[in-house]
């Protein structure tokens, strides 16, 4: 007599799939260390979307985001000997990508745009997007990265702290400062 699937069985299926995926990734990382090109291609295929998406959210330029994502992969594979635990590859790669994005943001000069408060802000969707892009470009790289990772990437405080290699208190403080600055610039932009 076949046993009906229990709640436990249903609940553990996604967990099992995640565990299988993690084990598979560990094998690929291990094979990458010995120069296995197939393993390399598998890791790229698994992580490229997330990396390009994060870089695009941070840099707001898809082509530049692809360049940075490629640089992140290259750096991660060249320095894979520094990675002590194969399970930590995903976080290691993500941290490299965020750090490279912040380096790019520091090199760019923020365009100091004065919002034309004489021109009424109509509140259209496209206009709002343009205003938000401008506001993001005016934030310091650390503040911009913090608010993007929290609000767009939906990372927790702990995850943001791990990616940016700062204490959680610093993340909290930067996030508050970034939101305050964002709010102030938004109010200036809408002319209130």
């Amino acid at each position: 007599m076949a046993l009906a699937p229990t709640m436990t069985d249903v609940q553990t299926t996604p967990a099992l799939a995640a565990a299988d995926a993690a084990a598979q990734e560990r094998q690929w990382v291990s094979r990458c260390r010995s120069g296995d090109e197939t393993a390399l291609a598998c890791l790229i295929a698994r992580h490229r979307s997330r990396l390009v998406r994060t870089a695009t959210n941070l840099l707001r330029d898809r082509h530049e985001a692809e360049d940075v994502a490629q640089e992140a992969f290259l750096k991660a594979f060249r320095e894979i000997a520094k990675l002590r635990d194969d399970r930590a590859f995903s976080g290691y790669l993500y941290r490299i990508c965020v750090r490279l994005c912040m380096d790019r943001l520091r090199l760019k000069r923020a365009e100091l745009v004065e919002f034309d408060s004489a021109q009424p802000h109509s509140g259209g969707a496209i206009e709002n997007r343009v205003v938000i892009e401008k506001i993001l470009s005016q934030l310091a790289p650390e503040l911009r990265a913090t608010i993007v990772l929290r609000e767009m990437e939906q990372l927790s405080y702990e995850e943001v702290a791990e990616v940016m290699r700062v204490p959680i208190g610093t993340v909290r403080s930067r996030l508050h400062t970034a939101r305050e600055r964002f709010r102030k610039l938004w109010l200036e932009a809408v002319g209130e």
Binding site: G35, E37, L40, A41, I44, A45, R48, S49, R50, V52, R53, T56, N57, R62, E66, A69, Q70, F73, L74, F77, R78, N128, R129, I132, L136, I147, R150, E151, M152, E153, Y157, R172, L175, H176, R179, E180, F182, R183, W186, L187, V190, E192
Partner: protein, 147 residues
Amino acid sequence: MRAGRACQRFSRLSSEAEDRDLKPSEHRFLEAHREACPECRETETVAACALNMLRDMSFDDDIEISPTFDERIIRRLKVNTVREGIRYWSPAAVGAGIACVALFAALHVAATPTQMKDADVPGGQVRNSTPRNYPNLELDRIPEFRR
């Protein structure tokens, strides 16, 4: 007008409410200040709206990626591997070249026979020596000077 301490606290808690569960006392403070301060109330509404727009501007996972993305990475890694190989082996290659030149020079010197003295050879005769033409110093023509 500079925000008072209550307004600053309201602003901070309002921001933290996005990320954590506030204590009941903090909730009560926010409610009370929201009713008492129309400026903070309106600013909070506008800020929440702006943050929501920021979140909506997030790109998702089905973002379009160039078809040659993977290939470019692997190609650059291969080029880098060849360059690193050349850099790694070049000192050894230079050392091997120097060693070859030194060996060649040593063999050349060894192949050239040396001049041996008669006194060093048993029987007083030099054997296997290359005959040399000694210059004629004409010592007999040097005058003898007497003191």
